[in-house]
């Protein structure tokens, strides 16, 4: 376990610590740009596939260059600032939403000893940095001088503050089991089994709260397309608007890597550390891709919640369940009971949560009161 040192992962490039940091940051930023460009392309392709369309297929082979074409188009578009906007608040908001994501990326381990810096309190740092996101969004909502933006900003604030709590508690559960906040160490601890097996309930809560933090369906209330036409970024155009898009996809990517390190064993799980960095990088990317595709899949098939349903789901369902999980973990770990009990209690919780939702779905569509044959049976009978 190398969690004790605040030093960079592995060897220092060129001997100087600051030069090393700059080189690593540049690599991560370039990687992020490419990943974001292909995430937008990938999302459009995945969504198109689910919606029985083709998706982008004109620019380059299979539309592979579509993301770059979009990026160039956005860069040369006019950057419009409405007269009613508060100038500095409006102009700085995109950067303030983006910087926290960049901070998160600097602390994530992509493979063993691969990353910008290994932060000893990585788990805490990532959560703290992601919480800062809300400042930029509120600034965009208030500074735009637009009522849709204002509604979106306020909705985002209410939602993100609420969902931050179950998110952090679900991660705390894992931290209790692991006994460390160091992301690298957490990954190493999952050599024989991912924490998903020990803490399924925490995983479910984390995934749900993550969707909310990312403003993804069914929690895309702050950016509701059909209600407030985009929410807080409705007035932005050109490069500033693309900063918001960049933030959205970069944080999706960051969250998926973070989640796969914490719950799925990151670069460590099925292979162990011995397989070399190539395999580890590959594993990290495959796992984060699975997260991302799951998020996109949910997005295309699930409608949006209302704001009060969102809040009651958070405070009445997610928060109590995560607290119960935390309490059970405490008992089991303090009395040194076997680890299988962790799996058992958390599994029961997860099954209860999923079962509750499934039960309500199954109970619902009662079309018996609709006179007349509802299904095709009526057509055949004549």
């Amino acid at each position: 376990m190398n969690g004790a040192s605040p030093l960079p992962f592995g060897d220092v490039f060129f001997g100087w610590s600051w030069l090393d940091a700059i080189i690593r940051i540049v690599i991560v930023v370039l990687l992020m740009t490419v990943v974001v460009v292909y995430l937008t392309y990938g999302e459009r392709k995945v969504v198109a596939r689910i919606q029985q369309r083709l998706g982008p297929n004109r620019v380059g082979p299979w539309g592979l260059l579509q993301g770059f074409a979009d990026a160039i188009k956005l860069l040369i578009k006019e950057d419009i600032r409405p007269r009613a906007a508060d100038r500095w608040v409006f102009e700085f908001a995109p950067f303030l939403t983006f910087i926290p994501v960049l901070m998160v990326l600097a602390a994530l381990p992509f493979a063993r000893d691969w990353g910008v810096r290994n932060v000893t309190l990585g788990l805490l740092f990532v959560n703290a940095a992601l919480g800062l996101n809300i400042v930029g969004i509120m600034m965009a909502g208030l500074g735009s001088g637009n009522k849709y933006a204002l509604l979106g900003g306020v909705r985002a604030a209410a939602q993100m503050i609420s969902y931050e709590i179950p998110l952090v508690i679900s991660i705390l559960c894992v931290a209790m089991v692991a006994g460390t906040l160091d992301l690298n160490a957490i990954a190493i601890l999952q050599e024989d089994r991912p924490f998903l097996l020990l803490q399924p309930l925490a995983f479910v809560i984390f995934f749900t709260a993550m969707l909310s933090e990312l403003h993804r369906a069914p929690f895309d209330i702050p950016v509701a397309e059909s209600e407030i036409v985009g929410g807080y970024f409705v007035e932005y155009s050109g490069i500033r608007w693309s900063m918001f898009q960049l933030t959205e996809y970069a944080s999706l990517w960051a969250f998926s890597i973070f989640g796969s390190v914490v719950f799925l064993g990151g670069w460590e799980f099925p292979m162990g550390s011995d397989w070399g960095w190539g395999w580890q990088l590959f594993l990290t990317f495959v796992k984060s891709l699975a997260w991302i595709i799951a998020v996109m899949w949910v997005r295309t098939t699930v409608p949006r919640l209302r704001i009060d349903q969102l809040m009651s789901f958070c405070w009445k369902v997610l928060l109590p369940m995560s607290l119960v999980q935390l309490l059970m973990n405490g008992f089991i770990l303090v009395y040194d009971w076997p680890q299988e009990l962790l799996t058992l209690t958390s599994g029961i919780g997860a099954a209860a949560l999923v079962g509750f939702v499934l039960y309500r779905t199954a109970r619902h569509p009662s079309v018996a009161h609709l006179v007349g044959s509802y299904k095709r049976a009526g057509a055949a009978a004549q």
């Binding site: 029985q52 949006r304 309500r360 079309v367 009161h369 609709l370 007349g372």
Partner: protein, 382 residues
């Protein structure tokens, strides 16, 4: 410059904050208004306290145009009222002119009209399902599912009449041309796809817990209130009253056809949705029966005059449009043009229920309630 009027900003009580309501302008260009409808919402936070609808952005002077063009030319304008089901409007117009001039319609023509009208009704309801799903926030998936089937119906209508949305296929006294030879085979093929499409949308929307939670018990309308407001069509039937002009005042060949009238119980948004879904099955049933009963004979009355001139006559014809009672009033005072034509459009009357239905609900729900009324702006603005 601020989005708040100055006098409102100064309006701060000495005892503390004094809140003021905010007005939001939704439309005429807004993804949720399905056209160029505009409503001015006064909101207290997220709750709507008042709603003012504004219409007229799509006014084309249909009634005046019908007075300026002779009976056969004017029919082209009536396609454009309920442009999602153009054939139904044509049928109503032709029935009015036939009643004015006492023209007999061959039975084959009646069957063809009813068959294509019911296909148009399915088409329009598909549009509702797709757009309503998008209003609730299913990110266009419902839209593309609905569009798939709509394309097939449009293709079929094009094969029959030569045009997709605005076929101009009916004539006073029959229809323009006979059905193509392979029509029955093609129609059964399309019907099979329609059943599949309805099942798909049923699974996507009704099978979704969030969708049902959003719609259930939302803005219920009582039968008395609905009648007082002049609401007709699926919205009225969802309140529990089985009022369908195809049964209540059977016209054309509907007396020979077997079908049921789906009604709701509570008159809430979910019932409106379910009534439309159930109606699509019934319409498909009607089309199947028409295919079996289709008689031979002429498709157009052979004794029609070259130039239709009608002396003093007056007629009011109402049929069950896709949105409700579609009434055409015609007054002739000699010559080859109508002296006065008047459209009683169901969307316009249904829209009058909007402002009292949305008050007290969230902004997100106001959008859904508007969507559940299923207005077509071509019909509202004439």
């Amino acid at each position: 410059m601020s989005i708040w009027p100055e006098e409102r900003l100064d309006h701060v009580d000495t005892e503390g904050f004094h809140t003021v309501d905010m007005t939001i302008n939704v439309g005429p260009q807004h993804p949720a208004t399905h056209g160029v409808f505009r409503m001015l919402l006064t909101v207290d936070g997220e709750l709507v306290t008042a709603c003012r609808p504004y219409i007229g952005y799509l006014h084309r002077g249909l009634e005046k145009l019908s007075e300026l063009n002779d009976y056969r030319q004017a029919m082209g304008f009536w396609d454009r009222t309920d442009y999602l089901a153009g054939l139904l409007c044509e049928q109503a117009y032709c029935m009015a002119v036939e009643k004015l001039a006492d023209i007999e319609v061959p039975e084959r023509a009646e069957y063809i009209r009813v068959m294509l009208s019911e296909l148009s009704r399915i088409n329009s309801h598909f549009m509702f399902l797709g757009a309503f799903g998008a209003d609730v926030g299913s990110f266009g998936t419902s839209f593309t599912y609905a569009w798939r089937e709509r394309e097939r119906i449009y293709d079929l209508i094009e094969e029959v009449s030569g045009d997709r949305m605005f076929p101009t296929y009916c004539r006073p006294g029959g229809v323009t041309m006979d059905l193509p030879e392979n029509f029955e085979k093609r129609c059964r093929e399309v019907l099979g796809h329609i059943y599949q499409g309805i099942d798909d949308l049923d699974g996507l929307l009704t099978g979704n817990e969030i969708f049902v939670e959003r719609c259930r018990a939302l803005s219920p309308l009582t039968t008395e209130r609905a009648i007082n407001l002049g609401v007709t069509g699926p919205v009225l039937r969802s309140t529990g009253l089985a009022w369908d002009l195809r049964k209540a005042e059977p016209y054309s060949v509907y007396p020979h056809l077997k079908f049921d009238i789906p009604v709701g119980l509570r008159g809430d948004v979910f019932d409106r949705y379910m009534v439309r879904l159930a109606e699509m099955y019934q319409s498909a049933r009607i089309v199947e029966q028409c295919l079996e009963q289709l008689p031979g004979g002429p498709f157009l009355n052979p004794n029609l005059p070259k130039n239709l001139r009608i002396d003093d006559a007056e007629a009011y014809v109402r049929i069950e449009g896709t949105k409700g009672e579609y009434g055409v009033y015609a007054l002739a005072k000699g010559g080859n043009k109508a002296y006065r034509m008047k459209l009683r459009s169901p969307s316009f009357c249904n829209l009058s229920a909007l402002s009292e239905m949305v008050v007290g609900h969230y902004v997100a729900d106001a959008i859904i309630i508007l969507g559940s009324l299923d207005i077509v702006l071509g019909e509202v603005d004439k």
